[in-house]
Amino acid sequence: MPRWFTPVAMVCGLMFAISPLIIANAPYEREMGLVQKIYYYHMPSAWCFLLSAIVCGVASARYLAKGDPRHDRLAIAAAELTVLFGLLTLITGPLWARKAWGTWWVWDARVTSSFVGWMIAWSYIILRRYGGPGSDKLAAGLALFGMANVPFIYISVNYWRTIHPPTTVVGSLKVSMGAPLWFCVAAFVLLYILLIKMRTRLEEQRARLDSLYLNLDD
């Protein structure tokens, strides 16, 4: 692992340790009350989910264009993290919605397109695992569709009828709510960087193992 990994991991761990205290001190939202505090973990999860789908798509596009296996390894790592952060988004969202909207799930444009994006990431992983030879290129094509879905997920709340708050709600936050949110976003992004580094390293080790087996066969 690179030299920066351990200090960044320590900072990230500390940020996650103190984040509940910062969130507890944040004010309550007038309409939704206590349950709105799920937002401080829900939104950073959702942003990392979208970020990961973009990383997977860009790495896949570069892999398709140049054929460099390093990009392929990054795409695999990002696809797995898309599934992880997508899952967290799709779990924390309904927990919030149950109290705030009175329902676990609504098939509005935001939730449905997020669910589709999450399924695309799952498809990528299943294709890589069981697709056999050539699945790397097929999966890279799939990742491009996953990336193309991201802007649709983001703007869906502004153009389609939904009870989801619009994207402008982030910009309109008072400092007392905005500061804890951006603190959590920073913690999640740091964690995302650490996880993608670890997961890419795993793919590098696997590639090294494959080359050792090939050497042994020769």
Binding site: F16, P20, G33, L34, V35, K37, I38, Y41, H42, S45, L84, L87, L88, I91, T92, L95, W96, R98, K99, L191, L195, M198, R199, R201, L202, Q205, R206, R208, L209, L212, Y213, N215, L216
Partner: protein, 92 residues
């Protein structure tokens, strides 16, 4: 007479103390009235949902970290075993 007054005063005091408990007794309900939403006090508590959300996120991160670390360890062990085998065979 003095004893009687003291007893009467004690009874009056006890009655005054007990009065609020009589006053707090709910009124007899003579009909059932349907409403569309639950009263505020009866509504679902937010805390269990909030705690569940935070626990799910933190436990998922922990489990995923363990899973990646375990997979890395497994591959590393296999690499070391293969390299040792190759060295023994004089191919390293």
């Amino acid at each position: 007479m003095n004893r009687f007054l003291r007893l009467a005063g004690a009874c009056l005091f006890a009655l005054l103390c007990a009065a609020p408990s009589f006053a707090q007794q709910p009124q007899q309900q003579t009909e059932f009235v349907p409403v569309d939403s639950l009263p505020q006090a009866e509504q679902m508590a937010a805390a269990p949902l909030l705690i569940a959300a935070y626990v799910v996120v933190l436990v998922s991160f922990f489990v995923y970290l363990l899973s990646v670390a375990r997979r890395m360890q497994k591959v590393q062990t296999e690499i070391e075993r293969l390299e040792a085998d190759m060295k023994k065979a004089g191919r390293g």
